[in-house]
Symmetry: C2
């Protein structure tokens, strides 16, 4: 039997510890191709590069068996290039991450990690986005590894819908407090309250740094935020149909005479 | 009675004919603030700028009554800055566009125009994204104007849900063929088939231009693509909860022992 062909990508860039950990894990599951950004591409959402050429070059980073390509584009560019120009055939799975920082709740719409996975699933490749709630590049991935292996094994060994995209967030490792398990859940209702930091350049002109606070007032216990706050791994199935079906009737009443 | 406060933005950049047309129209409806990208930002999706400072400067482009600000960031950066730093109060409406090119169907996930509108609605500001199916900067907006006025009037004069975001696409003007009316509909199931154009630089190194063909195999007559192909303006209510609720049960069965 042929080994599964697996595409690995991320948004923190091809040298980030998160993707190096993921590559190491995925080498145990199949033939791995890495096509990932050559520089950090966080919060790039589903952005694609139309106004600049995109480069994609073979690169060797460690001694693993994977083939690797560093791409000058966004995470979604990486997946489009991988599927169309780099991989020898359609892969059996795409994994994106491990992102350094949460992609739960509303973060899903800004995330390059999740968007890369979604782009694969749009093209009929089952996909998994992995994030750990630890921004540090020295994050401890030991506990994550067990759950990543469990999720990958489950998806590869079952006939799951081809367009599946699972957004998997993993709590930060806390000493003496084990992760309790997995929860399949829904995106919590939350938002960012922006706090723009104002600075002045050498000429005295103002510029801004975008920052903010994550505000979640969703108290339901079926959300990703609840799961993560209670030391569970959250799994949210993600889709790309943004239609607000529940609003169609109301909107029709407003617009049809 | 106070006039409505209206935020205008886009992704083609503050000098594009589409936004100039929209500003002119919106001046008839209220007090207009324009906060838009200082350069083209197409296909930027919900991307935000975290790794670079963002600038936002007052600018005067024409003799209209609006106040205008050119921003160095993405369309979503523009909206975040507008709501937090530029506008005197929370606006009553955000309009984005008129985009030069379609944002129907799957284009919604890549579109900077729609993402800007969605960002406003995330913050409780009703929003409208307008696009015309004509990439040309000399597009004829005469017929569009009637429908844009109709949609804006309907949204401003009714108590529509604050988080509403409507993705409005307008067919290209065809001589002797009038637009038939408005259709409230859902996102068609479609995708892009990529065709990367390969080029070589002066050193002989390969680079790529991303291009592709739009493939829609959705034959239902309740979609935006159907509406546009049949010379109707399409209106799709858009939401930011990406949870695939219909998959939760199935995924749970796979993961829970």
């Amino acid at each position: 039997m042929n080994k599964p062909l697996i595409l690995v990508t991320n948004d923190d860039g091809i040298t980030a510890p998160g993707i190096r950990t993921l590559v190491k894990i995925m080498n145990d599951f199949g033939d791995v191709y890495v096509v990932a950004p050559d520089s950090p591409q966080s919060a790039k959402s589903n952005a694609i590069t139309l106004d600049k050429p995109v480069r994609c070059n073979s690169i060797k980073i460690d001694s693993g068996l994977q083939k690797e390509f560093a791409c000058s584009g966004t995470p979604v560019d990486c997946v489009k290039l991988a599927l169309n120009k780099v991989l020898p055939r359609k892969p059996d799975l795409c994994v994106s991450g491990i992102n350094h920082g949460s992609n739960s709740s509303i973060n899903v719409i800004y995330s390059g990690t999740v968007s890369a996975a979604l782009e694969a699933s749009l093209n009929g490749v089952p996909s998994l986005a992995f994030s750990i709630l630890d921004y540090s590049f020295s994050a401890d991935f030991n506990e994550s590894e067990y759950f990543i292996r469990k999720v990958v094994k489950t998806v590869l060994s079952n006939k799951i819908y081809n367009s599946i995209c699972l957004n998997v967030n993993i709590p930060k490792s806390i000493p003496n407090q084990k992760i309790k398990g997995l929860k399949v859940c829904q995106q919590a209702v939350a938002k960012w309250k922006e706090e723009f930091i104002e600075r002045k350049d050498a000429k005295g002109d103002i510029y801004y740094w975008l920052t903010g606070k994550f505000i979640c007032e969703d108290n339901n216990n079926n959300t990703d935020d609840w799961a993560l706050n209670n030391q569970y791994v959250s799994i949210v199935p993600v889709k790309f149909d943004l239609t607000s079906f529940e609003m169609i009737k109301e909107i029709q009443d407003f617009f049809y005479d």
